[in-house]
Amino acid sequence: MSDTASDTVTDISAIKLSNAQIAWRAAQDIEDGAYVNLGIGFPEMVAKFQPEGKQAIFHTENGVLDFGEAPKPGEEDWDCINAGKKAITIKPGTAFFHHADSFAMVRGGHLDVAILGAYEIAQNGDLANWSTGKGGVPAVGGAMDLVQSAKRVAVLTDHVTKKGAPKLVASCSLPLTGVGCVTRIYTSLAVVDVEGGKFVLREKIPAISFDELQALTGAPLHVEGEVGDLICPEL
């Protein structure tokens, strides 16, 4: 796809969901009692949009389960941080453990959901999110562990790049983080599942037509049953 893909729609930026709204939508799917790992950055917002009555337990790679919110500035304890190196707090139910146990939770398939960002997602579920392949300093962290072993791997992303090129593609051009691992994609325009090696459209924002959405997607969007309206609150 060319960088001019966005020309097919008058103004994507005016109708697309914000990052907070994408995070809100993802949060609606997390069931009560799920063990969830949130990637550094924008996926961390998912924690604050948990629906009433559903309480997920959050895991962070550096060895904490069920942590509390960020402390007030000046009250940080730098022994108590998350994988993004941000200060967190403990609360009743918090558990600490070492790194091998932390990744046994991941590798052993004990995590229900991992939620991450992406550069590219292929229709077979391949994910590229760790390297732009352009040199510089490579850094992978825990992403490769999480995507291969969590029961479900959800991606939060803009539907297209800043230049308007599709991020949902036929096959990834960037270095892979994992093979066939993504199960659901929450984008700024749609909710798309990866099933049987293809993209299946589950929801789209009402302001965009199927054809417009397809033009912004680098592989065929399949429809199986009804496509729901993707409607999020103003956040």
Binding site: N62, G63, K85, H98, P138, V140, G142, D145, G178, V179
Partner: protein
């Protein structure tokens, strides 16, 4: 038997040039800053260092790199709030980098400590980090063979120690410290307090003393995050 050493300087004095040294911590949490600074003062060079990160600012591991003592770094995520020291050394070709997914890094270290030469993990299958490594299929899923990781010395940070080397940790500062303690020929632990035998409830021992060679008391240890906020530089 008393593994207590009087000073950090004495504790690290046997580390030779060319040694492989595991350094505990995840970012600044659990990083044995005083032992690292003592290692800088001691002067050993051409070190291979194993750490999750690559230092932050100009203290701790970053200072060790800035003093050009590190020949090779094995880590998962060589980025931080201020990664300039490592980045410049790496881009100048002064330091070799082996990137290892975080869970694989933890498990390689654990395997080294447990006498398991290799193991299989789904992590990194199909990615460039698996290139050249044997793979095998188990129950329909692909796995990559990874080797153990061992060290000559480990520098770790504990909360309480007793003269036998039994250790506890504080909050998320536990991270890589217990597995590194297992994987080194000689583990040096700095502890905020050394208590008499019996001063740690046996139910609370996280690292049994068999894994620890030396303990040195460092009361009120520095936190990397606080040093960096004060723009500290070592030496």
């Amino acid at each position: 038997m008393d593994k207590t050493i009087a000073s950090a300087a004495e504790a690290v004095s046997a580390i030779p040039d060319g040694a492989t040294v595991m350094i505990g911590g995840f970012g600044g949490s659990g990083a044995p800053i005083e032992l690292i600074h003592a290692l800088i003062d001691h002067g050993a060079k051409d070190l291979t260092v194993v750490n999750n990160n690559a230092g932050n600012g100009h203290v701790g591991l970053a200072a060790l790199i800035e003093q050009k003592r590190v020949k090779k770094l094995i880590c998962s995520f060589p980025r931080s709030a201020d990664p300039r020291v490592f980045t410049e050394a790496y881009l100048a070709g002064e330091i070799e980098l082996e990137i290892v997914p975080q869970g694989t890094l933890a498990e390689r270290i654990r395997a080294g400590g447990a006498g398991i030469p290799a193991f299989y993990t789904a992590t990194s299958y199909g990615t460039e980090l698996a290139e050249g490594k044997p793979t095998e299929e188990f129950e329909g899923k692909h796995y990559v063979r990874e080797r153990w990781l061992k060290a000559d010395f480990a520098l770790i940070k504990a909360e309480l120690a007793d003269p036998h080397g039994n250790l506890t940790y504080r909050m998320a500062a536990r991270n890589f410290n217990p597995v590194m303690a297992m994987a080194a020929t000689h583990t040096i632990a700095q502890a905020s307090k050394i208590v008499p035998l019996g001063g740690i409830d046996p139910e609370h021992v996280i690292t049994p003393g068999i894994f620890v060679g030396s303990v040195v008391e460092v009361a009120k240890p520095a936190q990397e995050e606080e040093l960096n906020r004060a723009e500290a530089v070592y030496p």
